[in-house]
């Protein structure tokens, strides 16, 4: 059984600075989103329990060929990638179609894993969209997975309760960050990463028109304005007095 993990290359958000309300992305290195790393770890643990191969899929700019080493070093066996420098800031619907094409190239799939949301946009759409394209069942916000024969028992964490669900395979699962802690890759794994098999597809191979099929337009994208009072207080008493005067607290 192959376990597929979808990962998204994003700028290292810790290093993004804001100038004049615009994000400065110049020189910010690319990495995988943090929940994606939990998804990969989930796949690796499933593989350790039940065998099979872990295959990473991703679509992104040419740098992705380097970034994907992070996943291969952590233990993924193989990568299927779409590389194109136009693949920056693409819509969820486009990502879903590109990734679905990659998935179609892979045989004998058991589970397709996603993080519950990407590190940058966190919109959580691509997993469910791919499930729809491929006609597969999907369970989101999974915090526990138990493999059964041709099915899987998962715990879905909702806002107010947990739901234990049994689902037929193949299935799409999106996982929560607290499901595990990603492992630290070992040295030889890191060095072998670049030598692991990679299937690389071009956008033309897939026949998708990146520009033509826009469903969303972005009107503006600015850091939120901060209009705050910025009053410096010296001690706890002064602070409490100020808050009482403002009426946000009562004694």
């Amino acid at each position: 059984m192959n376990i597929v993990v979808a990962m998204k290359q994003i700028p290292d958000l810790q290093q993004v600075r804001i100038r004049n309300r615009q994000p400065v992305l110049d020189g910010v290195p690319m990495t995988f989103g943090s929940i994606d790393k939990n998804a990969l770890e989930t796949a690796l643990q499933l593989k350790e329990a039940a065998g099979g191969n872990v295959i990473v899929i991703s679509a992104g700019t040419e740098e992705l060929e380097d970034t994907v080493k992070e996943a291969l070093a952590a233990g993924a066996d193989e990568a299927y990638l779409v590389l194109d420098d136009e693949l920056e800031n693409i819509e969820s619907s486009v990502s879903a179609h590109l990734l679905a094409e990659l998935i179609k190239q892979i045989e004998n799939i058991g589970i397709i894993l996603f993080g519950e949301g990407s590190g940058d946009n966190y919109s959580g759409q691509v997993g469910p969209r791919i499930a729809e394209i491929l006609g597969l069942p999907e369970v989101g916000y999974v915090c526990d997975i138990e493999l059964e024969d041709s099915r899987v028992k998962v715990t879905r964490s909702l806002e107010d309760c947990e739901e234990i669900v049994r689902v037929n395979l193949p299935a799409v699962l999106t996982i929560m960050a607290d499901i595990n802690e990603p492992r630290i890759p070992s040295v030889t794994q890191i060095l072998k990463a670049g030598k692991k098999p990679k299937q690389i597809l071009e956008v033309e191979d897939i026949g998708l028109d990146l520009k033509g099929d826009k469903k969303i337009i972005t009107l503006s994208s600015l850091a939120p304005e901060n209009k705050r009072k910025q009053i410096t207080v010296k001690n706890g008493e002064e602070l409490v007095d100020a808050l009482l005067t403002e009426g946000v607290i009562r004694r």
């Binding site: 380097d66 080493k69 992070e70 070093a73 630290i184 070992s186 040295v187 890191i190 060095l191």
Partner: protein, 380 residues
């Protein structure tokens, strides 16, 4: 030049950093107090293959080169100098086996010393001789197809861990030095009490006593009588490790001071924002750390690309002197930023102060290494 880390280098650095943050930082103070590193740490480091970064894959290593090795040692040492000392000395043993060992010796000793379960030592220094090779007093005497080893060695790191040890001793008949591999804790092997070292705790030092230790003939390392060649190679790789190690200590001191300057307030304003002398201190440290960093990384690159051992020894000696001396300067400045608080063991800088002064004193003091480098530079 291309001063970007490759993705692989970056990932090795990150693996070491993540491990250090998660597993070492929380217990670093405890390691310092107890002068003891928990075995789980060694095993976990073994699993991450941090013991074998530059060594051939065929013997269980990572074959990632010495630049990666320095990147990893820097990160580990930043969290705990003692752990880096253990790895560095272990690597010295591995380096000489790798350079001089027979196929059999390599197969026997290298893989086990990369798992964290066995740890190498290297024994050269003696009580009477300091580090002068011409005055060795440890002797071996040929007896049939074995050698009998007698004598004492001083300040030997990792001597208390299970694993092999390379010993340099003089042949009582030929008067020439040879290198041997022995198993620690074999018959006739015994240890002194631990030396009470000022810092880099966790990698304790012992004196080692050999009382008629029997060494099979097959355990001569390299050719008989060529012990000083083995020593030379050991010195090179020891200095590479120490350059990475004290680079890490320097970084730790710098980061501590920076954090302290941001946090400590004087009349409502952080000292780093208020006082120009604190700002100058911070800039001085950053500048000096940068110089150390490029020197140390350059040494790693040189070790990966340069074949001439003399050139490498020169670079290694110069870099070790520069980095370890500069690390002391950085730590002194960082101490200045802390004021009296820096004297308190509650602050990490107090621990780093004990760690950093070790640098210029070990594996050849700075003046001694300068004599050595001068010989190569002046070509005489």
């Amino acid at each position: 030049m291309d001063l970007r880390l490759s993705k692989e280098e970056e990932l090795i650095q990150k693996a070491a950093r993540d491990f250090a943050d998660k597993m070492i930082v929380p217990i670093a103070e405890l390691i310092d107090q107890d002068n003891h590193i928990p075995e789980e740490i060694f095993e976990a480091l073994g699993d991450l293959e941090m013991f074998g970064i530059p060594f051939p894959e065929a013997y269980g290593g990572g074959e990632a080169g010495y630049l990666s090795y320095i990147l990893a040692i820097e990160e580990l040492a930043k969290a705990c100098a003692g752990i880096a000392v253990v790895i560095s000395v272990n690597s010295v043993g591995l380096s000489v086996i790798n350079a001089f060992g027979t196929e059999e010796q390599k197969k026997k000793y290298m893989p086990e010393c990369m798992t964290g379960k066995k740890i190498f030592s290297f024994a050269f220094t003696e009580p009477g001789t300091g580090s002068d090779p011409k005055q060795l007093s440890c002797t071996v005497t040929k007896a049939g197809d074995s050698y009998i080893l007698n004598g004492n060695k001083r300040f030997i790191t990792n001597a208390g861990f299970q694993g092999p040890m390379v010993v340099i001793a003089k042949d009582s008949e030929t008067d020439k030095a040879s290198a041997f591999v022995i198993d620690k804790f074999c018959e006739g092997y015994s240890l002194s009490e631990q030396w009470n070292k000022i810092g880099a705790h966790g990698g304790p030092l012992y004196d080692v006593y050999f009382d008629n230790v029997k060494i099979p003939e097959g355990n001569v390392l390299g050719r008989s009588g060529e012990g000083l060649w083995v020593l030379k190679v050991a010195m090179i790789y020891g200095k590479i490790g120490l350059s990475g190690l004290f680079l890490g200590t320097a970084k730790a001191a710098y980061e501590e001071a920076l954090a302290y300057a941001k946090q400590k307030t004087h009349r409502g304003q952080p000292i780093g924002a208020k006082f120009q002398h604190i700002q100058i201190s911070i800039a001085d440290m950053a500048m000096k750390y940068n110089a150390c960093r490029w020197s140390a990384y350059n040494l790693g690159f040189t070790a990966d690309t340069v074949k001439d051992p003399n050139q490498l020894l020169r670079e290694a000696a110069l870099t070790k002197v520069f980095v370890s001396e500069t690390a002391v300067e950085i730590c002194k400045i960082a101490m200045g930023v802390h004021g009296s608080y820096g004297l308190m063991k509650d602050y990490k800088i107090a621990r780093l102060w004990g760690d950093v002064i070790i640098g210029p004193q070990v594996e050849g003091t700075s003046p001694l290494l300068k004599i050595l480098a001068a010989g190569i530079i002046l070509g005489d």
